[in-house]
């Protein structure tokens, strides 16, 4: 849930796919000629230098895109400024506040949280509550909501919250709670 450019990802994957198909088609056309395309000439020295330079540019752009994935993580949820100075609240603190209330519910296995910068001034908190499959979803959602509203009061501001109720590998291995 980061700020990564998803359309960009799609376009890059599509271009690489098309390039692979085009290369395969070129080779296939040589094995079983369908279209008459001129052969690639033996490269002169300057063409080799151009190829090397192009390769360098491709490498730089590719790695640039790779290393800018998943950006937008932040540790600070809110920064409050008043007469006495600035105070910032760490995402962990906000998460612990909610975790304490929610983890008491039966069938909640774990609570994890991450904060994301969604635009220049907004930070959203993502809460991932892992439950067993038999969990009462309404109970979990309402408990988180109560905790979030309490957090609003404490921080005196509203943080955007994304709640994700999930089951995971851990949840499927955890023994189901049964009342007989």
């Amino acid at each position: 849930m980061t700020r990564s450019n998803r359309i960009g990802n799609r376009i890059i994957i599509a271009i690489l796919g098309l390039a692979l198909i085009a290369a395969a088609a070129w080779v296939g056309n040589r094995a079983m000629p369908v279209v008459d395309v001129p052969a690639i000439p033996a490269p002169p020295t300057n063409a080799l230098w151009i190829a090397a330079a192009t390769a360098l540019v491709v490498v730089v752009l590719a790695l640039l895109w790779v290393f800018t994935r998943g950006r937008g993580h932040t540790r600070t949820v809110v920064t409050v400024t008043d007469d006495s100075g600035r105070a910032s609240v760490d995402a962990r603190v906000a998460a612990d506040f909610i975790t304490e209330d929610v983890s008491r519910i039966v069938d909640v296995v774990s609570v994890a949280s991450r904060a994301y910068r969604t635009d220049k001034k907004t930070v959203a908190l993502e809460l991932r509550v892992t439950t067993r499959r038999s969990a009462d979803v309404r109970l979990v959602v309402d408990a988180v909501k109560r905790a979030v509203i309490e957090l609003d009061d404490v921080l005196e501001t509203r943080i955007p919250v994304l709640l994700h109720v999930a089951t995971g590998v851990r949840a499927s291995f955890a023994r189901e709670q049964r009342v007989h």
Partner: protein, 188 residues
Amino acid sequence: MTEQQLYRRLVRRSRHRSRSGTVVVALVVLAIVAIYAGIESVLAATGMPALLVSPVDAIDAIENPGTPVLIGAAVAAVLGIVLLVVALSPGTRSRHELLDDRMAVVIDDDVLAGAISHATNREARVPAERISTVVARRRGVVRITPTSGVPLNTASLTTAAEQLVAALDPRPALAVSVSVNERGVVGS
């Protein structure tokens, strides 16, 4: 951006894959290939011996393909089609949105299925392993195997399942149906 707009975006991004994993793998492979091609080009341009294949030999192999090159081309074609499908498919994850006035809420379909099973079983009262629910985007199907000699009322089971879905109100909307296995099993 208002909070509601932000929530709509958060939910949309949570319900779809980002494809960042695919992009990272594809671009790292591309970078490795480009580094190798660049090195061979420089070696050829400066008249030094090739590491593995010189550009001239590589072009020759492509223009007059032997069996290994043809196999490579076939693999490339399949890989290219896979990438195109990944790029063009909607990439929806199995999650539903729940409406809430304070938070954006998404739940995994497994959780939703578990909740439907649980609610239906309050009515059916069979051991938990004999009730299962499968949730797709717009449809949920509950399957129950009854205990022999204890008939189940499909209508009231359906009502129980529908009540839970109505209470949660997942988006996209879900139509539930209950199917009771005709053959029961003995004991509990």
